[in-house]
């Protein structure tokens, strides 16, 4: 079976991970794939085979489409903003600023707060009647800017994006900061001797050499976007009028609140497929010279 002892040892090394992945990854995916062909409430002992009906429903479901669009917007805006701000903060902190440690702590602090706390705090801040944001605007005579931030379908998603960016930019900053410590100081000195200004250094040295960090943040950001649930559920519950609905919250609603386990499984499978495609694209992009 094995050509030599080395092959056998390879298999032994791989086996624990293979068993783990099979039980906790492939089996659940196979299970939800199986029940996606049934009509089932997730509870009853009776299931009805419906073939591809759940898939057909998914591709014609306006709320699922709206959720995907919301998630796409969320991903693009939050990931790019966090990367841009995180990189900016890392560059600023690279200078000989005083109290570096304190700045690092402040930047990273939101990252360690539980999402439930962030959701609660921003819910209060955005409250139309008693929220700090509107009270602040009123106090500086900008009443015309006060707004029901989470109560308006045109602003709710963006308001939550700000909360998300506030919380996770510190993580991008930390990775960029760590990445920049790996860049040889001599490169900066050479660039300065050649007369390069900060913009040229950032453009020609920092950004290209931080490519692995960009890719890591992109992959983590995309996965984080696909998994986003708690901040939405705890603030807007997907509303108003589905304006902040995500596939994850929609799956919860369908599977748990409406007892449509098979349709929820179909959507969960779609998330896996989307995550797989995006990850392959990102890894291919990374490997491209």
């Amino acid at each position: 079976m094995f050509k030599n002892k080395s092959n056998f040892v390879d298999v032994i090394y791989i086996l624990p991970a293979f068993i783990f992945i099979t039980i906790f990854f492939f089996y659940p995916i196979g299970y939800i794939f199986g029940i996606s062909f049934y009509e089932w409430n997730g509870i009853s002992q009776n299931r009805t085979y419906v073939g591809l009906e759940n898939y057909r429903d998914f591709f014609t479901d306006k709320i699922a489409l709206k959720s995907l669009i919301n998630q796409f917007l969320w991903g693009v805006i939050t990931i790019l903003s966090q990367m841009f701000l995180g990189l900016g903060m890392a560059i600023l902190l690279r200078s000989q600023a005083r109290f570096k440690i304190i700045y690092k702590l402040i930047f990273f602090f939101p990252n360690v707060i539980a999402v439930a706390v962030v959701a609660y705090v921003f819910n209060k801040i955005y409250d139309n009647n008693f929220g700090e944001l509107n009270l602040l605007l009123e106090s500086i005579k900008l009443n015309f800017l006060t707004h029901p931030w989470l109560g308006d379908p045109n602003t709710a998603l963006y308001a939550l994006m700000i909360a998300n960016i506030w919380q996770w930019t510190g993580f991008s900053f930390l990775l960029y900061h760590a990445g920049m410590t790996q860049i040889n100081e001599e490169l900066y000195e050479s660039a300065r001797i050649d007369g390069a200004n900060l913009f040229a250094i950032v453009k020609n040295i920092i950004i290209p050499l931080l490519k692995p960090t960009h890719i890591a943040l992109l992959i983590l950001g995309v996965i984080g976007t696909l998994k986003t649930f708690d901040i939405i559920y705890l603030t807007t519950k997907g509303g108003p009028a589905r304006s902040t609905e995500f596939l994850s919250t929609y799956i919860f609603q369908k599977g748990i609140m409406e007892f449509k386990a098979s349709y929820a499984s179909t959507m969960a499978l779609m998330i896996v497929v989307i995550a797989l495609i995006l990850t392959i694209l990102q890894v291919k992009g990374y490997n491209r010279k």
Binding site: N41, G42, I43, S44, Q45, I63, Y126, D127, N128, N129, F130, P148, W149, L150, G151, D152, P153, A156, Y233, T236, K237, G239, P240, A241, R242, F252, Q253, I256, M257, E258, F259, K260
Partner: protein, 430 residues
């Protein structure tokens, strides 16, 4: 000798665990009616009374509602459900009916052939699925009431609105004075359903239930009008600005209780936190206010022009079923009987509406004579209640929730919204 001693210890351990497993009743719920243990490990509230009544040992697991739904589903299909479980009537209990014990024989044995007479009829109807009694109602909740803060109304020389136009006028007058008139947590579907049922029943009683049963269309004129009036509330000044961003708990409850809003719609489950000294003390501590307000309760303002305010509608707030696969059914029934029957005075003490006849509110801890009068008025409305709160079909519930939000934000007309609900209704397998 050492091994012999170890064997004895192991045997005793196994025997004691076996005994616990046999006698202890397990009960899971999302709102355990204080049948629990406080943060310091002490028994609290109804649990003390439960023990005093000689109830079997009971292990209570209390979950947040969302977690409970997931745990219940998982426990049920994996055959590890607790002996007793709490349910919401309507869509939820219908899904689990096949796993629940028919309680009729237990009730007949305990209370005789006329056992149903002991309960409020509307409660028993809603825990009966296809002729099977799958649970018993613990307490009832009646919704469709307008709660008002008389102190605020007096301050601006206003009266409690008795009709639609007065409701608009009072709300706008308060708004012009920098006070929220009517506050509503439109982010929460459940309170939107309460409002819609209240309006629909006021305009044309019962049509909404006919539509749910598939005997009438959701595009019925009175239902479209109800949806239209709901939508108008967001533009005519009744609803506070940003209502769709507010939840009923804690936002609206806090706004109303702490005197920042003069009116809200709420139900009997809120009595404790507003009308009892103990409950209000908790509200004051949570929300950080110290003023004493005069809170009152009335029906929704008249909308059909008959000069009468809207009627309340009620459902079991929590109902408790027994697992059909429980190996501990006799003990579980003993526990259930105590929770359902013997603890009714305990629930009434906290101003829950009892599910059994002949158990009066205990107003001994009411905050004031004004509060007592409000509760008396509420009791009168409960006796005159009409219809139920909970929908049976999840699809209709979701569609109605979506329709209401879409009308509220102006994405749909009332008719378009009700057509959407009708479409969902037609897809339901009744």
């Amino acid at each position: 000798m050492g091994n012999f001693f170890k064997m004895i210890v192991i045997c005793f351990t196994i025997i004691s665990f076996t005994n616990i497993a046999k006698s202890e009743v397990t009960y899971s719920c999302w709102n355990c009616m204080m049948l629990g243990i406080d943060g310091e490990g002490n028994l609290e509230g109804a649990r003390v009374d439960y023990n005093a009544k000689g109830g079997p040992d009971i292990a209570v697991t209390n979950y947040p509602y969302g977690d409970y739904l997931q745990a219940l589903q998982l426990n049920m299909i994996s055959g590890t459900s607790d002996d007793l479980m709490a349910f919401q009537v309507g869509a939820m209990i219908n899904q689990y009916a096949e796993y629940l014990e028919d309680l009729t024989p237990y009730c007949e044995k305990e209370w005789g052939a006329n056992w149903k007479d002991k309960f409020l009829a509307v409660g028993i109807d809603q825990v009966t699925v296809d002729g099977k009694l799958v649970a018993l109602p613990q307490v009832m909740s009646a919704a469709g009431a307008l709660w008002y803060n008389q102190t605020i109304l007096d301050q601006y020389n206003l009266s409690v609105p008795t009709n639609w136009d007065e409701w608009i006028s009072v709300s706008n007058t308060l708004k012009d004075n920098g006070v929220i008139g009517f506050m509503h947590g439109a982010k929460d579907s459940w309170v939107n359903y309460d409002m819609f049922i209240g309006i629909a029943n006021e305009l044309d009683p019962g049509v909404i239930y006919e539509a749910e049963a598939g005997n009438a269309s959701w595009t019925h004129d009175s239902l479209v009008k109800a949806m239209s009036m709901w939508g108008e509330m967001f533009s005519n000044g009744i609803m506070q600005e940003g209502a769709l961003g507010n939840s009923q708990y804690p936002d609206t409850h806090q706004g109303f209780t702490s005197g920042n809003a003069a009116m809200m719609t709420m139900g009997t489950w809120n009595n404790f936190s507003t009308f009892t000294n103990e409950g209000l003390k908790g509200s004051k501590a949570s929300y950080g206010f110290s003023e004493d307000f005069k809170y009152g309760i009335t029906g929704l303002p008249d909308m059909n022009g008959d000069g009468k305010h809207g009627r309340l509608f009620a459902s079991p707030d929590v109902s408790i079923g027994m697992s059909a696969s429980s190996s501990n059914k006799d003990e579980a029934w003993k526990a259930l009987k105590i929770i359902i029957e013997d603890l009714q005075p305990t629930y009434a003490r906290d101003l829950w509406v009892p599910s059994m006849n002949g158990v009066p509110f205990d107003m001994s801890d009411a905050t004031s004579d004004f509060a007592k009068a409000a509760l008396e008025y509420e009791l009168g409305m409960i006796e005159n209640a009409y219809g139920k709160r909970e929908f049976i079909y999840a699809e209709i519930k979701t569609a109605l929730g979506d329709a209401m939000q879409n009308v509220a934000v102006g994405n749909m007309t009332a008719l378009e919204a009700m057509e959407m609900v009708e479409e969902a209704s037609q897809s339901v397998k009744r």
